[in-house]
């Protein structure tokens, strides 16, 4: 009888594994060469690799296990391990980044932080499998080649799973590490809500071992930092997942320094994944990754501001022309239900890109927007800590760009003295954010002359100004805005007499809306391009 190839075995058992794990949406795993690990091509090579949800089992790894464990069982154990990363830990990119950030706080080193995160994620997903599913992972770990860390991990597994993995306390590597193992056994690995705390405890306990391993590595005696079944990195995630993860991390941490640190630590991987600053959503190759700009970009994506549509004069009506992927926060009305399989899900859902036809007519849409942002000394430096002014402006830019409008930026401090930066109407997201994040830190004066060329000749245009209103020539600004017919959204940060002066001056102008931002929670209340409605207008007015 012809012997089955490993690929055939994978295909045979994959339906069973999928069923066992309640049908995760993962493509059929394949057999191949896996880079990474200590010595590729030998049994020291790592077991599997996950790239954009595609699991690849290492053929060399399986060869190394021959004679020790039945091939089918080894493959199933590897698949269980891989699927558990997808279904339980780390689950998504945000969780992975979060775990890494916590580990790095304890380890104080990028590489050691990544190693700790890898080991922790492995312990959690393996333990989850052993507890919840019928799996041969313990048997697999029995036959893996072990270094000092792996020996300790095996001792830990033996204790927490209650299975014999052939690790004895008198083993050469574990000897002296009983204390570490004892500490590791006390961690609630399966309690997701306590993972942040758990990984810190895990890191503290394992730190001496990893430092020792690092020393050995330097002297050429140690093994590399890879986990036996493969490391976790950004390759495992799609661009949409990375987008979502960064967005969540920016929103939940709200700390610019922390976000910057994480992005800088993953710069290489992010670039490799095609995540630069060129192209939409912060992706593409080319320029350097600017973590600060990325922070505001991702944070702005979390706050979706509504833009009131207005009647625009266009040459012709729009008609559906081509498809593009739908992103979280994009309008739903252009979703093509047929090609999206009736699902609203990033990566699956598609929207129609509309193209203007020939002819002339009036349609409803969002006009272009001119954003004026104050970056004087009285404002927070957006590159040092979270600036609500820049975040507000970034949210406004994001809202208009999502509606296929163009955005111009006027960043001013002491404009008559040259403290300004002007960006003409553009749909280049990263350029817009770069100008928004610029900080001058000088006096506050606005040069109306600078605004005139940007406003002149544009019938359909919205203005968005965000400032603390401590502008030395506030009267000139009030006078200029007073003569405009365009919709103006003015946002002030904090309260001061200048705000009251501005408020009083524009209270009768229905095209100017004023919003206050004191906390981050105020940002979603901004409505762009709102024309004030007077409910209490008397008869005849």
């Amino acid at each position: 009888m012809k012997e089955r190839t490993p690929q055939e075995t994978i295909e045979d058992i994959w339906p069973r594994v999928k069923r066992k794990h309640l049908y995760p949406e993962i493509p059929t795993p394949k057999l191949g060469e896996v880079t990474g690990g200590e010595e590729p091509g030998t049994e020291d090579a790592v077991g599997l690799e996950i790239k954009a949800k595609q699991m690849t089992l290492n053929a060399d790894f399986l060869v190394g296990l021959k004679g020790k464990m039945e091939e089918e069982r080894a493959i199933e154990a590897l698949l269980d391990h891989g699927v558990a990363h997808y279904t339980f830990c780390p689950w998504d990119f945000y969780t992975y980044v979060n775990l890494y950030a916590e580990a790095k706080k304890v380890m104080g080193d990028k590489d050691l932080g990544k190693q700790v995160a890898n080991h922790f994620i492995d312990v959690v997903s393996n333990t989850y499998c052993v507890k919840m599913r019928a799996t041969d992972i313990p048997e697999l770990y029995r036959h893996l080649k072990r270094g000092a860390i792996e020996e300790t991990m095996a001792a830990l597994y033996q204790k927490i799973w209650g299975k014999d993995l052939g690790s004895s306390a008198s083993g050469k590597s574990v000897k002296g590490n009983e204390e570490v193992v004892r500490r590791l056994t006390r961690i609630p690995y399966l309690n997701r809500s306590r993972w942040a705390e758990s990984i810190r405890r895990f890191a503290r306990s394992i730190k001496p071992l990893l430092l020792q391993e690092q020393e050995n590595q330097k002297s050429g005696a140690g093994k590399g930092g890879s986990t036996p079944l493969g490391d976790h990195d950004l390759n495992g995630y799609s661009l949409e997942e990375i987008d979502q993860g960064l967005r969540d991390y920016a929103r939940k941490s709200m700390m610019l320094p922390e976000f910057r640190e994480v992005v800088e630590d993953f710069t290489e991987e992010l670039k490799e994944a095609g995540y630069g600053m060129e192209g939409g959503m912060g992706r593409g190759r080319g320029m350097l990754l600017d973590a600060d700009v990325l922070f505001y970009m991702k944070l702005a994506e979390s706050y979706v501001l509504p833009v009131k549509k207005s009647i625009l004069e266009k040459k012709g009506t729009l008609h559906p022309h081509s498809h593009s992927p739908w992103e979280v926060g994009s309008p739903y009305h252009d979703v093509d239900v047929w090609t999206s399989f009736g699902k609203i899900m990033p990566g699956i859902t598609q929207i129609w890109k509309k193209k203007e036809g020939k002819g002339k007519g009036k349609i409803e849409g969002a006009p272009d927007c001119l954003i004026a942002v104050d970056s004087s000394g009285s404002m927070i430096n957006p590159r040092k800590s979270l600036s609500y002014a820049v975040l507000g402006a970034a949210c406004a830019a994001d809202a208009y760009l999502r509606n296929d409008s163009k955005v111009a930026v006027y960043n001013f401090s002491d404009a008559p003295m040259g403290g300004k930066d002007v960006l003409d109407y553009s749909s280049q997201r990263e350029e817009i954010y770069r100008v928004l994040c610029k900080y001058f830190g000088g006096g506050t004066a606005l040069d109306v002359e600078d605004l005139i060329p940007l406003v002149h000749g544009k019938k359909d245009l919205d203005l968005f100004i965000i400032t603390d209103m401590k502008i030395t020539n506030l009267e000139a600004l009030i006078g200029y805005l007073g003569q405009l017919k365009n919709r103006v959204t003015a946002v002030h940060i904090g309260e001061n007499p200048y705000v009251s002066r501005f408020e009083k001056a524009v209270e009768r102008k229905s095209n100017i809306s004023l919003f206050a931002v004191k906390r981050k929670e105020d940002i979603p209340h901004i409505v762009l391009g709102r024309i004030r409605e007077y409910f209490h207008q008397g008869p005849g007015r």
């Binding site: 006390r186 309690n191 705390e197 810190r200 405890r201």
Partner: protein, 274 residues
């Protein structure tokens, strides 16, 4: 009895209801199959999960974590009771009487708990990392941890305090002979006071009044030490790896700075050493 029987009957009715529902569903299924013709097969997509066996196992980890949580709760409750009794106003003055009294209270709670060295470590970790412990008041916290160390089964205890943002005072209070306490990180004021023959090692710095009133034993501070070091110490040795900022009024005992004997030695004025 009545309640039980009515409960049983309601359960019975519920089961009957379910059976009926199942039967009617099957009937409906048959009917639709019949009406739609033989080629239409409608199957429940979740049908195959009827035979799915959910193999959830109890692991030793569950037991370990559960018992650890129980002990941690007891330790935490003990600390909260100590705070209730000793620091009602959240201000705690370090005075001879208050220290003795608070330590006695701490001893009373600690004696009732069955814990291991790792529990003490977890308790210290919880100060900085969880919201479960309401207040870290360095004085009572130090006394409580000292009591935990003095009544632990293990003779050697390592406290990892390097991540704590607040230094804990009074660590190693009355550490008895045969016991060794290693503090990874910095210690606060009054470290190792009243030492009773134990060995206290501070991997980082220690603040003022270290070793005050110690009777015997050894204190090693790997980095620097503050003012009033060894005030009224009656015996024992203090080894400092870095600099001694100032010595106290020492009665008896030895103080070494970077392996050099600084007390007893040349006449020095207390607190004017540097």
């Amino acid at each position: 009895m009545k309640e039980q029987s009515s409960k049983n009957s309601s359960i019975g009715m519920e089961l009957q209801g379910r059976e009926k529902m199942k039967a009617s569903l099957q009937l409906k299924k048959k009917k639709t199959a019949a009406s739609d013709g033989p080629c239409v097969i409608r199957s429940n997509p979740f049908q195959e999960f009827d035979t799915y066996v959910y193999a959830r196992k109890d692991l030793p980890l569950d037991r370990i974590v559960q018992s650890t949580e129980v002990v941690m709760d007891q330790i935490r409750q003990g600390y909260e009771k100590l705070l209730e009794e000793e620091a009602k106003e959240l201000v705690w003055m370090v005075q001879y009487n208050t220290i003795i009294k608070a330590y006695e209270v701490a001893e009373r709670y600690v004696k009732e708990i069955d814990y291991a060295a790792e529990d003490i470590e977890d308790f210290c970790f919880a100060f900085e990392n969880t919201q479960k412990i309401p207040y870290l008041i360095p004085g009572p916290a130090g006394l409580y941890i000292s009591a935990l160390c003095n009544y632990a089964k293990e003779e050697e205890i390592v406290l990892k305090l390097s991540e704590l943002k607040t230094e804990i005072n009074l660590l190693g209070f009355r550490l008895s002979k045969g016991r060794r306490l290693v503090i990874e990180g910095d210690a606060g004021d009054f470290t190792g006071i009243g030492l009773e023959g134990g060995e206290l090692v501070v991997e980082g710095n220690a603040k003022n009044w270290t070793g005050a009133g110690m009777r015997s034993g050894k204190i090693t501070v790997k980095k620097n030490i503050g003012l009033h070091t060894g005030e009224w110490m009656m015996g024992g040795e203090i080894y400092v790896g870095g600099r001694v900022r100032g010595l106290g009024n020492i009665v008896e005992g030895k103080v070494f700075e970077q392996d050099k004997l600084v007390y007893p030695g040349k006449a020095r004025y207390p607190n004017l050493y540097y």
